[in-house]
């Protein structure tokens, strides 16, 4: 939204050379693009400039001649003259560096930052040759633990304010601040408090010295020993771009890559420190099969024989329809494609569901116009009707926080307060079911939403909806109905979906969900995961669990248990999950960083995964396991390398037409591409990422830093980003989904409707294998209105008993929450109590009674 009076470019001179700059941008950026690097510490391109370190002082022309000015802060103006290399500038640079070193310890040899340290590097390039400081330096106790993940060495701190600014402004978690004054200033938590932010690792990433270090990385490697593979995080479906760094066959850390269109260099701690579990003892690294009641390590050959025998037996005895594949949302596109082929072609079963969550179904996802993230952030209004974004798609929360500051208007639809509530201009306190019903039948609630998004007009043009499953206890139909009716009501609106499993959208695209074949091609409906589980409890079935654990991911625990007990289970996973004890065969799956391929994020953006190290033990990548099974069945599946499988996908499926595996990691498309590509010819030129080695120290490989962007491309890039308008998404294909009024009924006799949610650190087998992250999972709890606790004579934080409609009982800690609406109990999954037990498959609403015992 450019002001017509703002000129498109302004002209400045940098060291006598004329440079075109964007109005409002700081000198440091304009000069950088023209090839003049100005040293800096506090400046970070993704945060507000503060001009505190004074390293970037340059001479700037003004009414009273040239003066030293912070180039990170001062915006360019027409005709401005900038001098970056005069004696005066050099003296200022030497002076600032000398001052910074006055109290900075000279412990570079033992400092994690040594070798990738902006202070070290810039001292070498711009600093004084020798120290003139002979006095005693400032001393602090060091290091101190400011959270379980992050340690602080205050002696090394140069007070650049990056971490404090990040916590306050980017993450909205001001749990650290400067304390004290002058050269006694320190970064500090509240005394005995903790820096409890889901995003704390970013402060380590952006620290320009070794003041903030991450416990999982400390003393593990030297920067010059690190190799790097560019990749995409698979902790959720947001798809943050990141660098996997490794040394001597071991993954040592992840760093966020500054992708304009995705994560702006940020990561959440769950994604950033996921590598903790890779080398865990708890990894599944050998194939195992069950002999009588014991699991025994066997060769892949023997394991495959057992799997082949099962497939043949079940096909012969019960038909291919007795074989089902559950999961795969954590697999690569190539792995999913291979397994779908195996299931649907080789074996001949249609039973495949990657979506154990029962989220928004593919039928709705494919029939609504999909927004890109960039479109959502620039929308006239963004309607968020989803689970708490910070818990499910954490970095999306950061992008929304930023976008709201830049003018994005968010309207939230949620019964309970979430992290989005503080950002939203308005919150409609409605359940998803109530809104869906209202949109179908009209009425005041629908009008309220209409009024709230009036800026988008009658047709909803420029409005974007983020629809996701806000209550685990709800059936998927609620969300299908919500999105479908919203799309009918506002045909101009675009959609994003909050299904958060890493590659769930790739799985949908590749036919790993019921009713769909690869390439978003519809086919006859078939059973979904819940129905498969229900069947497995009653009849003989062979279940392939593809990196999935129905016990921790699906409700109705009793039913899931009896299904797993009854069925023959082949578990393909990197960790021994809760389903492992029920397995007949365990096949070790290569973990993240051990496998190449591609993944698809929630926009439909296909990006490359980096293979950094070899699979641990006997584990194999997903696509190879599918190929092994195919070979065992005497039906080799064709290509067995990711680039070949991808080429096959691009050749056979129109959805991927025009994509080339190698291109996806090129300078041309460093952040991948959203599928399907628009049919019109696209010419967007090279879009290498911004060049700022100080923004994320340690990211040094040339292919993701790239040369400076040509000015014209930078300006035009956002507009040229290929859209996601799917040719195969006519609104006429929107499913008609009806909602039972029971979904909004109010229970009698004091029973409360259960609203069940997840938190970021959810108890999974992978998290349990991560030494530090595993300490962050919270206990399961419920939140109830204060009156509810009073009525049963319980105090805040004491244990209560929940009784379901079918006699299930769960003892759980209850917290009092004034913000809760009447008639609702908010359950938050976690360690300990299993709240999933209370949810019965096939019910429209789950009610519980809160009792004292």
């Amino acid at each position: 939204m450019s002001n017509p009076e703002t000129p498109a470019v302004v002209h400045i001179t940098v060291d006598g050379v004329e440079v075109e700059a964007m109005p409002g941008e700081p000198i440091i950026e304009a000069a950088g693009r023209a090839g003049t690097f100005i040293p800096r510490f506090c400046y970070h391109p993704r945060m507000r400039a503060v001009g505190m370190c004074r390293m970037c002082l340059v001479e700037v022309s003004g009414p009273r001649g040239f003066s030293l000015q912070p180039s990170c802060y001062l915006p360019v103006t027409e005709g401005m003259q900038v001098i970056t290399k005069s004696e005066k500038v050099k003296k200022a640079q030497v002076g600032v560096l000398e001052f910074l070193l006055v109290n900075h310890p000279l412990d570079c040899p033992v400092c994690d930052k040594g070798g990738e340290c902006p202070l070290q590097d810039q001292t070498l390039a711009y600093g004084p040759g020798e120290s003139r400081f002979v006095e005693e330096k400032r001393h602090w106790e060091k290091p101190i633990e400011i959270s379980k993940l992050v340690l602080l060495d205050r002696e090394r701190c140069i007070q650049c304010d990056r971490c404090v600014r990040f916590a306050r402004e980017v993450a909205g978690d001001p749990f650290i601040d400067f304390a004290g004054r002058g050269d006694n200033s320190e970064v500090s938590t509240f005394p005995d408090g903790e820096f409890t932010s889901y995003f704390s690792g970013n402060t380590v990433q952006i620290c320009p010295v070794g003041a903030l270090t991450a416990r999982p990385y400390r003393f593990k490697a030297r920067p010059w020993d690190l190799e790097e593979a560019e990749s995409t995080c698979t902790a959720c479906s947001f798809g943050c771009r990141m660098a996997v760094q490794f040394s001597r066959g071991e993954v040592t850390r992840f760093l966020g890559i500054d992708s304009d269109v995705v994560n702006n260099s940020w990561l959440c701690d769950l994604g950033r420190f996921a590598y903790e579990s890779l080398d865990s003892e708890k990894r599944l690294v050998e194939p195992k099969v069950r002999y009588r009641s014991e699991m025994a390590e066997v060769s892949w050959h023997d394991a495959m024989s057992r799997v082949g025998a099962h497939i043949r037996t079940f096909t012969a005895d019960h038909g291919a329809g007795s074989i089902a594949f559950l999961g795969g949302a954590g697999f690569t596109n190539e792995g999913i494609h291979s397994f779908v082929k195996l299931a649907k072609t080789t074996i001949g079963t249609s039973l495949f569901d990657a979506d154990l969550d029962g989220g928004v179904p593919a039928s709705v996802v494919f029939a609504t116009p999909r927004a890109t993230l960039a479109e959502a952030l620039a929308a006239k209004v963004l309607v968020v009707a989803s689970a708490d974004v910070r818990e499910e798609l954490p970095v999306l929360f950061l992008r929304l926080n930023d976008a709201v500051k830049k003018g994005l208007r968010i309207v939230e639809v949620s019964e309970v307060e979430t992290s989005i509530s503080a950002l939203a201009a308005e919150r409609l306190p409605l359940s998803a079911a109530r809104l869906a019903l209202a949109l179908q039948s009209g009425g005041p609630d629908a009008e309220r939403l209409g009024a709230a998004i009036a800026a988008a007009g009658e047709q909803g043009d420029g409005a974007v909806f983020l629809v996701g499953k806000s209550n685990i206890a709800d059936p998927a139909d609620v969300y299908a109905a919500l999105a479908a009716s919203a799309s009918r009501r506002w045909p101009g609106a675009k959609f994003l979906f909050g299904n958060s499993r890493a590659n769930i959208f790739g799985a949908m695209d590749l036919g790993a969900v019921p009713g769909w074949l690869p390439g978003r091609v519809a086919t006859a409906p078939s059973d979904d995961a819940r129905e498969i589980i229900a069947r497995a409890a009653d009849e003989p079935m062979l279940l392939f669990l593809l990196g999935a654990d129905p016990l921790s991911e699906m409700p109705d625990t009793a039913l899931v248990k009896s299904a797993l007990e009854n069925a023959t289970v082949v578990l393909i996973d990197s960790f021994e999950s809760g389903a492992a004890p029920y397995a007949d065969v365990l096949l070790p799956l290569a973990a993240y960083g051990e496998t190449a391929g591609t993944t698809t994020n929630f926009e439909g953006r296909v990006t490359r995964l980096g293979r950094a190290i070899v699979p641990k033990g006997q584990s194999k990548p997903d696509y190879l396991i599918a190929a092994e099974i195919g070979r065992e069945l005497g039906r080799p599946s064709g290509p067995t390398a990711p680039e070949e499988i991808f080429a096959e996908m691009a050749r056979e499926l129109p959805l991927y037409r025009g994509l080339a595996y190698a291109e996806l990691a090129s300078n041309r498309y460093p952040d991948g591409l959203v599928v399907p590509l628009e049919r019109k010819a696209i010419s967007i030129g090279a879009r290498p990422r911004r060049l700022d080695p100080i923004a994320t120290p340690g990211l040094v490989a040339p292919y993701h830093q790239g040369p400076a962007k040509p000015f014209a491309t930078e300006v035009g890039a956002a507009a040229a980003e290929p859209g996601a308008e799917t040719p195969a998404s006519p609104r006429s294909q929107l499913p008609e989904v009806s909602i039972d009024p029971a979904a909004v009924s109010v229970a009698a006799d004091g029973r409360l409707r259960l609203l069940l949610t997840r938190r970021l650190y959810r108890p999974t087998a992978q998290l349990a294998a991560a030494p530090i992250l595993s300490k962050l999972t919270a206990q399961a709890e419920i939140r109830v209105a204060p009156a509810t606790l009073e009525a049963i004579g319980k105090s805040d934080g004491s244990e209560v008993k929940l009784r379901g409609d079918h006699g299930e009982e769960v003892a759980v800690v209850a917290k009092s929450d004034k913000s809760l609406p009447d008639g609702v109990v908010l359950g938050r999954l976690g360690d300990g109590a299993n709240l999933l037990l209370l949810v019965k498959s096939g019910t429209w609403a789950t009610h519980v009674k809160v009792g004292s015992n």
């Binding site: 505190m52 140069i158 002058g182």
Partner: protein, 436 residues
């Protein structure tokens, strides 16, 4: 030049009266007549016009014309007025006296100014350590409320405004106007980075804000009652009216003296019996600080300079906060400069590198020299470190820092080395202070 006879007491007329801080005394001595006059018989423009005519120079330190500052206020729906009573410049004690002895005069001046600039609310930020002053100022506000001078429809004029007395909590930097605003917003007192250069564009809560000094406000009632022209008739050139000089150090009668601007010389202020009464023990002047410890020092040869903002500026220093510190020939210049450096080190907010680290380093070097571990090379090192904070060591200074506290650090160190290099060398050669 001689002063007008008698010199009108514009701001200190009530100092010394019984209960000078109470409304009874204030009303008996013409209090609140100016506010009534302004609100009921003048437009806001007319008030601002009189203040412009008076050429009242801001009394906080920078000496910027009050009227001109008001005219720079960005027109916006919400505007604020903030009065700076955070007097912390060492050896400056005039605002302290005004707040304790004539708080109503400040309140009245503030209310008139709020009317002139159309402020939505006025805040008087008072240095937290002035506990008694805060009590009396708040009591004055309470009395003014009861008198109908604050709140709704003041004196039936249709003008409403509120005035909040806000206590600081001990930080010199909050005297810097943008740090003061941060502090008033409940934050750490970090000066804001410029541009915007003036709070008149972006101030309290991001709204256009006028920040004026307490003594400036104390002048406003007199200007309204007597007209800007009468004020401008006093003094010389741009230095109009009267001004309080806080005279401290080695004089017989340290104290606050309201004198006509630019009519007296430093020597007259120091020597006249009704003012400083001469140097203590009849000693000679070795050096003096003409305008607060941020100012470069003067020597005895500059004693005959007039107390004029422009003359002092031309000579390479400033009248600044109006504090004059006299040092006699028994004073150790190294120790004096060290103590001032120590002050800036303790008061540096820590936001930007040169001030945060430079102040501490320079203090350590000064301490070393005074205590006998100095090296001859330290003098050039000191000057170079100073130069890295205030490039060129010129006056008015250039700076590598965010705010002017940075270039205030070198003033005393560079003055002392420049004027008394030999004394430094004696410290270094003798391994200690010769005055001990």
């Amino acid at each position: 030049m001689t002063q007008t006879d008698p010199v009108p007491k514009i701001v200190t007329s009530r100092v010394g009266l019984e209960e000078s801080w109470g409304i009874k005394t204030y009303l008996a001595t013409g209090g609140y007549t100016a506010l009534r006059k302004a609100l009921t018989s003048m437009t806001p423009e007319q008030v601002a016009d009189e203040v412009s005519k008076s050429n009242l120079l801001g009394r906080g330190g920078a000496g910027f014309e009050v009227g001109r500052k008001w005219s720079m206020l960005k027109p916006a729906p919400v505007r604020y007025l903030v009065i700076n009573g955070d007097e912390s410049e060492p050896a400056t004690f005039k605002d302290h006296m005004l707040i304790e002895n004539d708080p109503h005069q400040i309140v009245e001046g503030t209310l008139i100014s709020a009317y002139a600039v159309g402020a939505a609310r006025a805040f008087i930020f008072v240095r937290g350590e002035f506990a008694l002053g805060l009590e009396r100022l708040q009591a004055a506000v309470n009395e003014a409320y009861a008198h109908g001078a604050i709140g709704r429809n003041i004196f039936g004029s249709g003008f409403s405004v509120d005035l909040v007395v806000h206590p600081g909590a001990g930080a010199y930097i909050c005297g810097e106007e943008t740090a003061l605003l941060e502090s008033l917003e409940g934050k750490r007192g970090f000066p804001r980075i410029k541009p915007p250069y003036f709070p008149a564009v972006m101030g309290l809560y991001g709204e256009p804000t006028i920040v004026n000094n307490v003594e400036s406000m104390s002048n406003i009632p007199w200007i309204v009652n007597n007209g800007g022209a009468s004020f401008a008739a006093l003094g010389v050139g741009r230095s109009t009216g009267t001004r309080i000089f806080a005279l401290a150090g080695h004089v017989n009668r340290p104290g606050n003296y309201e004198v006509e601007m630019a009519k007296l010389s430093f020597r007259e202020l120091v020597e006249r019996p009704e003012y400083g009464g001469g140097m203590r023990l009849g000693r000679q002047v070795k050096a003096f600080i003409p305008g607060g410890v941020s100012a470069p020092w003067f020597g005895p040869d500059q004693l005959d300079m007039a107390l004029s903002q422009d003359d002092v500026a031309k000579a390479g220093s400033m009248l600044g906060s109006g504090s004059i510190v006299m040092m006699d020939d028994h004073t150790c210049m190294v120790r004096a400069a060290w103590r001032i450096t120590k002050f800036f080190w303790r008061e540096s907010c820590g936001q930007c590198t040169p001030c945060r680290e430079g102040s501490g380093w320079i203090e350590k070097m000064m301490q070393r020299i005074e205590l006998g571990s100095g090296r001859e090379a330290d003098l050039d090192l000191l000057l170079d470190a100073c130069d890295n904070i205030a490039p060129g060591l010129t006056w008015p200074p250039q700076q590598t820092t965010i705010c002017v506290l940075g270039p205030s650090i070198p003033s005393s160190v560079a003055s002392a080395i420049r004027m008394f290099r030999d004394e430094f060398l004696v410290h270094i050669k003798e391994g200690g202070c010769p005055y001990e």
